[in-house]
Amino acid sequence: MPKPPHWELMIVWYFFLGGIAGGAYFTAAIADNFGGARDRGVARAGYLLSLPLVAVCGLLLIADLGVPTRFLNMMRTLKVWDPMSIGAWIVGVFGLFTFVSSALSLSSSPSHAALRRKIGLVGIFFGFFLASYTGVLLSNSAMPFWRDARLMGALFLASGASTGIAAITLVLFLTGGSAGEGWGKLKHADRYSMLVELLLLAALIAALGAAARPLVSGHFATLFWGGLIGLGLLLPLALDLLGTRARALGALAAALVLIGGFVLRYVVLMSVQA
């Protein structure tokens, strides 16, 4: 029977931070291109968040290898239909985008801003990719439950969006830079992506049927239902609806979304490897 790859805490963190990096970047690029002047804080926070996060992602991936000094061997080939191969490439390419976008977001020159928006438009796709490919990587392995979860990539993408937006929200709250309508738009986008995530999660569980057992009724069920569904999705949604004007409540909701995003990766990875 298939063997677990022993992708444990380092990979849980990688999946989690990679989702945030991708989500924060595409949110920033969308706000930058389609938002107004007052959304610049959101765009800048998103760009500046994605850069260190993707750097940490790269380090985590290298550290988890059996022979870390051979990490460049990933660059010996490019297999477009192999999530592990193309994923390694995209982490690098996306890293370049976050670097350039971050650098340009520090400039106030209009020509730099125009260039930044154009680069962001292309970078959006790499952000989407980084947030979702980890799910496709799992669903194309031989492990029971992972291999049956057709919607894993789609779910990880929605979770990348909700956690990326939550991370931007927290940064703005903590730096006091949340003036203007950017905050309300962020909360709106976060609520939306959480609802998409909930729907995808429901569809994934329904489609899995008995294969979902390690998640919904095994040793990890408490964490799944309590940590992810309750604490990480339903409670922040309720908090957002209750107190759209109270900043602290919004920030608390964002922190809960982040916890939920981590729990999602944790239960998905660990429940079939334990």
Partner: protein, 260 residues
């Protein structure tokens, strides 16, 4: 590619002596392991990074034609699949197909990402902590390139493990199944012999006396990567739905377009 080589393991001839398992260990210099309690003679329960040939000992009540308990013995090994999940998963190109059709891991290239471990439908590929690389049966790559058969096949005293050209072995195997069926082994069947069957056929294929699941083998193993297109399209759909929602949240309404 030269003519495909294969190993045919006829489990009806296996006597459980484990000469193959020992020969494999010795030739490939596979180190000592702590034995595990499996409730029977089998050791280990699964393939490990130091066990590439594994004799399975299975007790099957009522498995004999006369209704007695059957002791099913099977020398299991990497299947060297024609469509190999491990090979498709490998991001470094360390896992490659030889000119003989076998699948091998280049130990100097593997960087230990372990995607191949979770991509083998049979749980063959194993991670070695000390080398930091993935390990599995090499089909005695060094021996077959020097005119010798694999160590396991060479050591087998009953010709339960046969080595040769795939097309010839498949013909032999088909005749053997017919013979066994005539003797009353009604569940005798080939596993992986059919090149049009699952995974494009296995270059190490088997004759089983019971259904595959009895031997801890999947009845219908599938290539893990077969869904990558569907899963990617679903992710793209999700990206469109999520991206559009975020865009609508940030869009400037009634101000004459962006950057007003």
């Amino acid at each position: 590619m030269v003519r495909t080589l294969a190993m045919f393991t006829d489990t009806s001839l296996c006597i459980g002596c484990r000469a193959c398992q020992v020969a494999c260990k010795q030739w490939n210099e596979l180190g000592l392991e702590v034995p595990e309690w499996t409730g029977g003679y089998q050791n280990h329960a699964h393939f490990t990074d130091k066990t590439y040939r594994l004799v399975r000992f299975i007790e099957e009540p009522g498995g004999k034609p006369n209704g007695d308990l059957a002791w099913l013995l099977m020398s299991d090994v990497c299947k060297h699949c024609a469509e190999a999940g491990c090979l498709d998963a490998c991001p470094t190109g360390a896992i490659y197909r030889t000119e003989y059709g076998t699948v091998n891991i280049n130990q100097d290239v593997c960087n230990g990402c372990r995607y191949c471990v979770s991509s083998c439908p049979f749980g063959v590929v194993s991670f070695n902590e000390s080398t930091g690389t993935a390990k599995k049966c090499t089909f005695c790559n060094d021996r077959i390139h020097n005119g010798l058969g694999p160590a396991c096949a060479k050591a087998c005293p009953t010709e339960s493990i046969q080595f040769g050209f795939r097309d010839e072995l498949v013909g032999k195997a088909a005749k053997r199944v017919e013979k066994l069926k005539a003797m009353g082994f009604k569940d005798a069947q080939l596993y992986g012999a059919d090149a049009k069957g699952f995974l494009g056929g296995l270059n190490a294929f088997f004759l089983l006396l019971a259904k595959p699941s009895t031997y801890d083998l999947p009845d219908n193993p599938r290539l893990p990567q077969r869904n990558v297109m569907v899963d990617s399209l679903l992710s793209i759909g999700s990206a469109l739905v999520v991206g559009l929602g975020v865009l609508l949240s940030f869009r400037e309404r009634g101000k004459g377009g962006p950057h007003a």
